[in-house]
């Protein structure tokens, strides 16, 4: 069973609130391994729910990212986009949590890359 059979508070706190939403430098800084793991867990739950694209290429295209290094993805540069998602109601529901579509895609991308052994 996945460590994250469903979306949990602890992982969510670290991955979504702690790193992505957290105030900090705008430039890309490598993400802490634990947070990446949490994001991957959340991403698996997102992928299972089927609320966003299911393969890495489509997720990259939807997010508009070309970064090869997944660890540099999780930075505060996404904050504005996530807030815009919420403002426009562009959200998804995963195991009772409401996420911005962009953050759901980010986590799904991390999970999908892990699946392929790329991170």
């Amino acid at each position: 069973m996945d460590r994250f059979a469903d979306m949990g508070r602890r992982a969510f706190l670290k991955a979504a609130v702690g790193s992505v939403m957290g105030a900090g430098a705008a430039q890309a800084v490598p993400v802490a391994p634990a947070i990446l793991e949490d994001a991957i867990d959340i991403g698996r739950a997102v992928l299972r729910t089927g609320v966003v694209e299911s393969d890495a290429a489509a997720l990259r295209a939807a997010l508009g990212v070309i970064d090869r290094d997944i660890a540099t993805l999780f930075t505060p540069r996404w904050n504005a986009r996530m807030r815009r998602d919420f403002a426009t109601g562009d959200t998804v529901h995963v195991a009772g949590w409401t996420l911005s579509r962009s953050e759901a895609r980010l986590c799904a991308l991390a999970a999908s890359l892990r699946q392929q052994g790329l991170c």
């Binding site: 508070r9 403002a87 409401t98």
Partner: protein, 530 residues
């Protein structure tokens, strides 16, 4: 004067200009406003100064529809009425609540907010509330010293709900009532029936009885019913000596359109990034030398109009209860009852993935300590919603009888799809605003497609709509002045006249309407109309 009706001789007849039935907030405010007027006033109150089991039993009746508190517990029969157990939250209705709103059938009052606004100002002191800019949110936020949350004003508005101590109207005003020369208040006086003339166009007298005491009659030029939104329709329906359907009921509206404020508590649990001081503005009551403020968050008029939604109000409750703890509780309850809880998969998942929430729960249970071991910024907002006018939601007489042999009243409360839509959309918008502002993320069951009303939907015990106000006798029981259509001298002051009820707790409006009625009666007395 404040007298015990049990001291009256049997079959006494008393005369007055005005007979007020019911000594709760509405009746006492009306009586106090008329002190010193040329009117001789009699106020009849069913209870005494204190709670009495047998008197209280008169308020009992079956719950026939949607879940509700036992009727005997949902209001009190003693001087001061339900103000003896109210919470004291006060807020005026909003201008939009008075309008006929597209998408909300049967909505709208025959008066506007402006017709009531000066009466709201005059009502504040009765509730021992602040009088300087009481409903100016920015003013109070500044005084408290915390910035309001930057909600999109087109979606949510912060409102400063005022906090009464809460005023117990009986105890607070008994002294003034006893000193009043032109107002005589009788305790333990139960009005059983109103006797009308042969065309049922005027009330001649009220038949009154005491438990273990005399029966007597009160004749008056005018009667004002102030017994709350359940007993008023009951008395009208019981007063069927001339009109078989009861007084004021020629269009079958008495007892229909029952509404209350209901609440989903909580409608979500959200995890804040950190303990945000801004959230303290909303999650606490703030008291001052006079009155207090409990900030809340209301769905904006713009969204209500655009999406045809009923009113929705959020209170931010700082709960420190996480989904994991709720899951644990649900699992235990389910096992205790021998049944699986709803959404089992998620409950189990929450248990595994929210370990510190579960730790808190165990810790609290083992130590008996209310303080959580792991302090985390969870909030559990309560969502209160407006019930829209629904003719199928009723109070009506049933075959049970009280200790006077009078038919009891049953409550068949019904909610509609509109209320469910308000709960879902209100929750969704709130969660989106939390994300947009950057406060945190929320978890809820409310947005599930198969979500249905939970086992416990909180009730305000705000009994509205059962003698609704309208200019047209075919759509309302009373006119814009609170006079019963087709009757020259029968008036009602109560939330029972509210045709639309907004999200606002009703009692401040009840007070304001009693003051307005007192002014009308004074004017009528001066012009000889009474």
């Amino acid at each position: 004067m404040l007298l015990d009706a049990r001291q009256l001789p049997e079959n006494e007849t008393l005369d007055a200009d005005l007979c007020i039935v019911g000594g709760g907030v509405a009746g006492i405010t009306l009586a106090l406003e008329l002190i010193g007027s040329p009117l001789q006033v009699i106020l009849l109150e069913s209870g005494g100064m204190h709670y009495d089991e047998r008197t209280q039993s008169l308020a009992d009746g079956p719950v026939l529809g949607f879940q509700y508190d036992a009727l005997a517990n949902s209001r009190l029969r003693m001087l001061g009425g339900s103000s003896n157990h109210w919470a004291g939250h006060c807020i005026p209705l909003s201008p939009i609540d008075f309008e006929a709103r597209p998408g909300i059938p049967h909505s709208g009052w025959p008066i506007t907010f402006d017709d009531l606004s000066t009466y709201y100002d005059r009502a504040q002191p009765y509730f021992e509330l602040q009088t300087e800019r009481p409903y100016d949110f920015d003013f109070w936020a500044k005084r408290i010293g915390i910035n309001p949350l930057p909600f999109d004003p087109d979606i949510f508005t912060s409102i400063p709900m005022n906090e009464s101590p809460p005023t117990l109207f009986g105890h607070t005003y008994a002294d003034r009532l006893s000193r009043a020369e032109n107002v005589t208040s009788y305790l333990n006086a139960n009005v059983l029936q109103l006797e009308a003339n042969e065309t049922a166009s005027q009330v001649n007298s009220a038949q009154v009885a005491c438990i273990d005491g005399p029966r007597f009659t009160v004749r008056a030029k005018r009667f004002a019913l102030c017994m709350g939104g359940i007993e008023i329709p009951r008395l009208l329906l019981l007063s069927n000596g001339v009109a078989a359907a009861g007084l004021g009921n020629s269009h079958g509206l008495v007892g229909r359109f029952f509404g209350d404020h209901a609440a989903v508590r909580p409608s979500m649990r959200f995890l804040a990034q950190r303990k945000l001081r801004d959230l303290d503005l909303y999650s606490k009551q703030h008291f001052f030398e006079t009155g207090g403020v409990f900030p809340a968050i209301a769905l904006s008029e713009a969204t209500m109009r655009k999406e045809h939604l009923p009113g929705v109000l959020f209170h931010l409750i700082d709960s420190e209860v996480s989904p994991g703890e709720v899951s644990l509780w649900n699992l235990r309850e389910g096992m205790r009852k021998g049944e699986m809880p709803d959404y089992l998969a998620r409950q189990v998942a929450n248990l595994f993935t929210d370990l510190d929430g579960v730790t808190n729960s165990f810790y609290r249970e083992m130590s008996g300590d209310r303080e959580p071991l792991i302090d985390r910024p969870w909030y559990s907002p309560w969502l209160t919603f407006e019930c829209t006018p629904n003719p199928e939601s009723t109070v009506h007489l049933v075959e049970e009888r009280d200790l006077f042999g009078q038919l009891r009243i049953g409550l068949d409360w019904r909610l509609t799809e509109l209320e469910m839509r308000a709960v879902k959309r209100g929750t969704e918008l709130f969660i989106q605003e939390l994300g947009r502002i950057g406060i945190g993320r929320a978890w809820t069951d409310v947005l599930r497609e198969d979500y249905t009303w939970p086992d416990f939907v909180a009730r305000g015990k705000h009994h509205c709509g059962t003698t609704r106000m309208s200019d047209d006798p075919r759509t309302g029981v009373v006119d814009a002045n609170g006079r019963v259509h087709g009757m020259s001298n029968l008036y009602i002051s109560s939330s029972s006249v509210f045709p639309t009820m907004g999200y606002a707790n009703p009692t401040l409006t009840i007070g304001a309407m009693s003051i307005r009625m007192a002014d009308l009666f004074r004017t009528h007395a001066m012009s000889g109309e009474l």
